[in-house]
């Protein structure tokens, strides 16, 4: 069965600093990978997705993620964090093009002024 691990439960960064959120997955074949963001009291919003092709994926709100097959990772990055990026971030893996998502436990991002 597929699984997703987000090793960092909480991360605090200063506004304007760079950000990297880690995601490791376990899946036997080529996975479909997603990053979602959840603000308090809100549903999940898709930031970006990887299905195939270029391993560096650009998303909304200035986020990007890089798929590294050799490390079974799909880390999320942003060069300069804004206070509005404070939220919970979820990595997810799927074996059916978005129809059967398995989520990681999430990483809560806090941004210091």
């Amino acid at each position: 069965a597929q699984s997703v691990t987000q090793p960092d439960i909480h991360i605090t960064v200063s506004e304007g600093a760079s950000l990297e959120l880690r995601c490791n997955y376990s899946y036997g074949a080529t996975p479909y990978l997603f990053w979602y963001v959840q603000s308090p009291g809100q549903g999940l919003q898709l930031l970006l997705k990887y299905f195939s092709g270029d391993t560096l994926v650009q998303g909304i709100k200035g986020f990007e993620a890089e798929f590294k097959r050799s490390q079974s990772s799909f880390n999320l990055r942003k060069p300069s964090v804004h206070w509005s990026d404070a939220a919970e971030y979820f990595c997810a893996v799927d074996d059916n093009a978005g129809n059967m998502l398995t989520f990681g436990g999430g990483t809560r991002l806090m941004v210091k002024p």
């Binding site: 439960i9 809100q42 549903g43 999940l44 898709l46 997705k49 997810a92 978005g98 990681g104």
Partner: protein
Amino acid sequence: EAGVVQSPRYKIIEKKQPVAFWCNPISGHNTLYWYRQNLGQGPELLIRYENEEAVDDSQLPKDRFSAERLKGVDSTLKIQPAELGDSAVYLCASSLYNEQFFGPGTRLTVL
């Protein structure tokens, strides 16, 4: 375009009481999902519908949970009777192709 609508947003009940959640997916989306999100965790799939048919309900606790999607549009998730451990956020999502769109969720508190 309207997003996924869920109601109620919050519900507080006593244990052993019944409760129901309603979801209206994005128009035209054939696939509908119900997830449960426990505090501090990622969402876990409860059931997936393709139109009216429940195609994956392996994670739905069938002794107390039930769901329906009449006419392949709106869906209702019911718990009867509720237990303390059912306190969670219940998320509904819908999709047409390969992206799931989530509603704001219903936060259930069982006392």
